[in-house]
């Protein structure tokens, strides 16, 4: 086989989970196929991700974790922190999976400002009013 896709699922096993409390038996980064560095733009804990509704590219088969991630973001936009918590996956793994899905056009980043920029005064005022009304 020549032209092998870079991220085809290899040897997936269904018996990976013991039970809810025990968590995955495999090392977390096995889910991300050993990769620890996400591709593309840095994803902050509060970066909002939304599903684009696009079909996976040809020859790309999504893992169960990617399916679950996409499913959540397709229902409504989610932050990276919420995804890690909802999927019960380590943050680093979620970043790798989400980075791939963004790259493949199935997820999009909804962010109005750069990761390192502090919120502007207009936004701070809104949060202040919101908190007071809580």
């Amino acid at each position: 086989m020549v032209d092998k896709p870079w991220d085809g699922p290899v040897g997936r096993r269904d018996e990976r989970w013991v039970d809810e409390a025990a968590g995955p038996v495999v090392r977390p980064y096995a889910i991300s196929r050993g990769r620890t560095k996400p591709r593309g733009e840095p994803l902050d804990l509060v970066t909002i991700l939304a599903g684009t509704g696009q079909e996976p590219p040809m020859r790309v088969r999504l893992s169960p974790e990617e399916h679950r991630l996409l499913d959540l973001c397709q229902r409504r936009p989610c932050t990276v922190a919420d995804l890690a918590s909802d999927l019960n996956l380590p943050l680093g793994v979620v970043r790798v999976l989400a980075g791939d899905l963004v790259h493949q056009g199935m997820l999009e980043i909804r962010r109005q400002r750069p990761v390192t920029a502090r919120p502007d005064q207009r936004l701070l005022q809104k949060v202040l009013d919101d908190l007071k009304a809580l």
Binding site: R27, D44, V46, I48, P77, G92, V115, L124
Partner: protein, 200 residues
């Protein structure tokens, strides 16, 4: 693929957050970080797999464990979703020094930080205060007044902690929702005034 019918059932109410913002909650072990977060928001668990620093590897007893390069850091966070679509996330910073590398990422783009101080162990908050001062991150000091803990004057505490007169110091009881809310209001108001004066 799921059926298209299910898409129709989703209402605009479930549009998800339009904006998501962070606040850090720092402080020594047992200062009440999780209690504060839980008083104002729903607490959610988060796992992160991180490489141990050289310093951490020395501290950690990993005898018998094959993989010595990574460790799982469990942390809690809180989320408050406001009706206007803004979601406010409260992240407790991992207390141990070996997890400090995570603070930068938590602090990037954050509104600011709450440094929880315990009057019985004021020194435990020095490191956090230094960190936020050096990075010009807006912060407030919240002094958790436990039952029976000696009441201290704010100015006494300010002197002991050596924080700038402009930094708000609030006495609070992190178990009380209104008190915890007041701490957050104080922080956001402080961040706003710094931003307005061009200091942040």
């Amino acid at each position: 693929m799921t059926s298209r019918l299910s898409d129709v059932e989703f209402s605009p109410v479930q549009d998800g957050p339009r904006e998501a913002l962070k606040i850090l909650v720092a402080g020594g072990f047992g200062a009440g970080k999780t209690t504060l977060v839980g008083a104002v928001s729903e607490i959610r668990p988060l796992r992160t797999e991180e490489n141990l620093t050289a310093a951490g590897a020395r501290v950690d007893d990993l005898g018998g464990i094959e993989t010595k390069t990574a460790t799982t850091v469990a942390m809690d966070f809180g989320r408050i979703t406001f009706p206007d679509g803004i979601a406010l996330y409260l992240f407790g910073t991992p207390g141990q020094e070996r997890f400090w590398f995570m603070w930068d990422e938590l602090a990037y783009g954050a509104i600011g930080a709450v440094v929880l101080a315990d009057t019985r162990r004021l020194t435990a908050s020095f490191a956090a205060i230094d960190y936020f001062e050096q990075r010009s991150t807006p912060f407030v000091v919240a002094v958790n007044c436990f039952d029976g803990a000696a009441k201290h004057e704010v100015e006494e505490i300010r002197e002991a902690l050596d924080v700038d007169a402009a930094v708000p110091i609030v006495l609070c009881d992190v178990r009380e929702r209104e008190s915890a809310k007041h701490v957050l209001v104080t922080l956001v108001a402080h961040a706003l005034s710094l931003s307005a004066s061009g200091l942040s």
